[in-house]
Amino acid sequence: MSRQPRAFFALDFGAATTSAALVGHAGGRWRLLAHTAAPSTTDLDALLFGILDRVGKADRELLEFVSARERPGTAALVADLARLESRSSPPRRIAVLAGSKRQRRRLEEIASRAGWLVVGGSADVDDPLELSRLVLAWDTHAVLLGADSSPAGDEKRHLPMLGALVAAAARRRPELAVVLAGGAAIQESDFSGAGEHDRIPEVVKAAAPDSSAELDATPVDVATSAETTEEAPAVETAPGEPAAEQAAVGATPEGPSEATAPAATTAPAATTAAPRAPDLAAPAHAAPVELPVPSGDRHDSVLLAPDAESGQPAGSALQQVLEGLRARSDESRLGIARSVRSLALLLDKSIEVIEVGLDGGLRCRAEAVGPGHRTVVSSHVAMASASFAPEDLSDEMIDAVSSWSTIAFDRYRLSDRLRDLRSSPWGEADGEGALLRLAAAKAAVERLVAATPEISVREMPDIMIAAGGVWASTPPSVVALAMADLVRRPGVGRLACDQARLLGPLGAIADEEERRKMLKDLVEDVLLPLGSLILPAGIRQGRSAGRMRVTGETSNSDIDLQPGGIWAVELPPGQTATADMDFRDAVRLGARGRHFSVEVSGGLGGLFVDLRDIPLRLPDKADQKRATWESWQRAMWSEIDE
């Protein structure tokens, strides 16, 4: 019997929530044995102790098997088991400066999509004093000075002043990271002509994305996208086949190879008999581009970046540079994006993830370039402003939450509650607090959707995943309703939830092949099925739109399709059914037609049939709008009055 454990902890350290999962190799594959989530203030060892205790109480033999010990001590296992970790990057602020208001808006949008908190100013509107205040503020971590690649007169005349201003600020604040984008790179000399009392920042050219890789990938092959091509299909390895396992992970029979040796301090070493835990070294695709960000607080370099129009779609090249500057290598959101890419290749399906947390949100999509292709195109946008309780809470954000809320709040009271939600994100998670949290989450997703038109124009994905701490305590049917409310595209898709928050830590696995193998085993555990969503477009209001028959393994349903409503048909997880729909008029459901027959799979919420308008049409009056939301919500959340 091997003495090496066949288990590891997958840990996701969010800003509000710490999620811990125990993954073990049992029954011939990696399995999610237990998981839990708690406020980030909770002692981690206590959390892990609790998980092991639960597994031990439920199945002592299983714990002994995966821990490879006869009487495993919980405390010893907490210390010994390997840990696969991902973390949220704390939000950082960037000051965006430009010569014109037009350019500033464009740059602000890109910086926001790269996950920065953004403040900005333009020389044609703001005076140099105000611009200096922005860049000298203590909580400004970076400055982006940008212009068109061939700046017009309105920008060009301000560039010398802006260059001098930013160079002066960089001399005053050595920790400030400076990015010169597009035509602003001409001001590079401002940063090298310093006197003997000044530091001389090193100018570094940020690696532009490889445009050659974009040519054969349409249409969402962007700089923020990454391609995963399965040139060599993964070796199908049954656990217990050491040779194949070694070939896949590069381990030697004696233990991990030299290259992976550093990880052995945290990861269990591979043996000939035991399956190998994932390599827990630095992730391979840690950031879209590797930028020479100096260690510590000092950023003694000026990055020269592409302009706001470079890349496909426009701005994606600069976004990639800014994201690389902001995010840490093991960031959860980038990990989710990598895992989704691997999943899309593994399942050969289009997958979209919407993640909302305390310090930001993520929307990403991955899909094959075309039917039968082994190339996956993915794009992602991580935004700090997509937090459910943003740090920079504006009046517009408060109004957005109010418009999604089923409770009437005055603006100041709602502002107070949202700010307290930020300082205590797990506080009052029940009752009225749950409704507020849901409204705040929907407002955050709305911001994400508005910022990602390139994803919104795509067809409904095969699988849509809700992720992030904000959904942790929300009933599954309500999560599904929120997805249907916000991502309104005609089609049929599966809804799932990353309940155990494994996508982030699994994205930290360095090797793409190894990550895919792990996901292959864990895919059913990672994706908690919420159900399927049928969302037709073009339904006429007023009369019955037709009928739908759901033929399942254990039950059949016949539904009159009334426009303007949403229904949940019971369809348990693991079951599939055929939904035959006969509409009176032609509708769009992927294709245009009147008769459709689709395969749907079940989930905790069942099958959702959404016959509301695309986009949603709501009453103008606030109280009527609240009543409309409440009627839809109550249909999915019967416990709301408890």
Binding site: D43, L129, R133, R172, G195, D420, S424, D430, G431
Partner: protein, 375 residues
């Protein structure tokens, strides 16, 4: 049940039962925190890193009405009329004056900048900080009205930079708060009698001038206005609403525009924005410190006590407080873990049995809604 108070020299680490560690801890005191005083273009520091400062000592000079000034060409060795003064000392050394003009360096307008016109009798003293240089010509943020910024507490300067700010390691200890408004300030701590946990506005009179008043669970905009008018230096409350903070910010804006500046005024919300009474251990601590010199710091929100030894409240290990939810503000004793419990709206959360106040029976409360105090 309210906690007793006794004098103690040092905080002791309590022996916490394992189940209690699931409840988020709230530290009552922090020792020697690093605080920040933010400055902007036109402002200069009067201290240097490593320097010890005492409460009331001028540490910075703020330009009240900074404008963007085209300074023109400056000589290499001096700035303007040779009266330059850079960061690194209040008086400025000869060596500092010999330094070439640099961004952030203190600049005093030369004769050509001392504008005279028919309406003004005296010369204007334009002073501020240099911003940047283009083609040999310098720009500055400068104005003719300046005010000294006094250190709200004693400590050691960690960082000091013109136009940016000052970071200072406080000598004493501090009570952390959740939200702050106004400016850093100092005064004697006044803990008046609270009626139903609140302070009546009429209690804010001239007799409390120079005090930092403990105002109970909530402070209203009217109370803030009245307190400023009565030369009260600051207020400490359990919560501080966003509406009140906006009113205070607007009032400060008007104050800055006025010619005669008033003493700085600050306000602290210990728990957050929604109404909650002050936690009894903290109220007991404040009551024990009444009359002592304290300071309100806004970044981060702190009530700084210029002392090292304070009377710490004696708390049972299982003393908890409800910080959010329907029972927010109530306190009691943790009895046991209640496991996963179904709460309102069908939400399942980890819970605990707590005996609140003088209740006869236990109440089941979500663990995330509770807090325990760490001394």
């Amino acid at each position: 049940m309210s906690p007793k108070t006794r004098a103690r020299g040092r905080a002791e680490a309590p022996d916490v039962p394992p189940e209690l560690t699931r409840i988020p801890g709230r530290r009552i005191l922090v020792v020697s925190p690093v605080v920040q005083i933010r400055l902007g273009p036109g402002d200069r520091v009067l201290v240097s890193p490593g320097q010890k400062v005492t409460a009331g000592m001028p540490i910075a000079e703020r330009t009240c009405d900074p404008e963007f000034i085209d300074v023109g060409r400056l000589n290499g060795a001096t700035n303007g009329n040779g009266k330059g003064n850079g960061e690194g000392g209040w008086k400025g050394s000869q060596q500092e004056r010999r330094r070439p003009p640099l961004p952030g360096k203190w600049w005093v307008g030369g004769d050509d900048r001392r504008g005279r016109n028919a309406r003004r009798e005296g010369p204007r003293r334009l002073a501020g900080t240099l911003l940047y240089e283009i083609n040999g010509r310098w720009s500055a943020a400068a104005g003719d009205r300046h005010e000294k910024v006094e250190s709200p507490t004693s400590g050691v300067i960690v960082e000091a930079a013109n136009c940016i700010g000052i970071a200072m390691k406080v000598t004493g200890i501090a009570i952390p708060a959740a939200v702050a408004g106004g400016q850093p300030t100092r005064g004697y701590l006044d803990v008046p009698r609270l009626v139903d946990g609140e302070l009546r506005d009429t209690a804010l009179d001239m007799g409390r001038s120079g005090a930092i008043v403990v105002a109970g669970g909530r402070v209203s905009a009217e109370a803030l206005t009245r307190a400023r008018a009565m030369s009260i230096r600051g207020m400490v409350a359990g919560s501080l609403g966003q509406a009140e903070l906006r009113d205070l910010a607007a009032s400060e804006g008007r104050q800055r525009a006025a010619l005669h500046s008033m003493p700085p005024f600050g306000v602290l919300g210990l728990d957050g924005h929604q109404r909650r009474p002050i936690a009894s251990p903290i109220l007991a601590l404040l009551a024990a410190l009444a009359g002592r010199e304290v300071a309100i710091i806004t970044e981060p929100p702190l009530l700084v006590l210029d002392v090292v030894d304070v009377p710490l409240p004696e708390l049972p290990r299982d003393w908890v407080r409800v910080r959010s939810g329907t029972h927010a503000g109530r306190e009691g004793r943790w009895l046991s873990s209640a496991g996963l419990h179904r709460f309102r709206a069908g939400i399942h959360l980890e819970a605990a049995n707590v005996r609140l106040g003088d209740d006869l029976g236990p109440t089941i409360i979500a663990v995330a809604d509770l807090e325990r105090f760490i001394l």
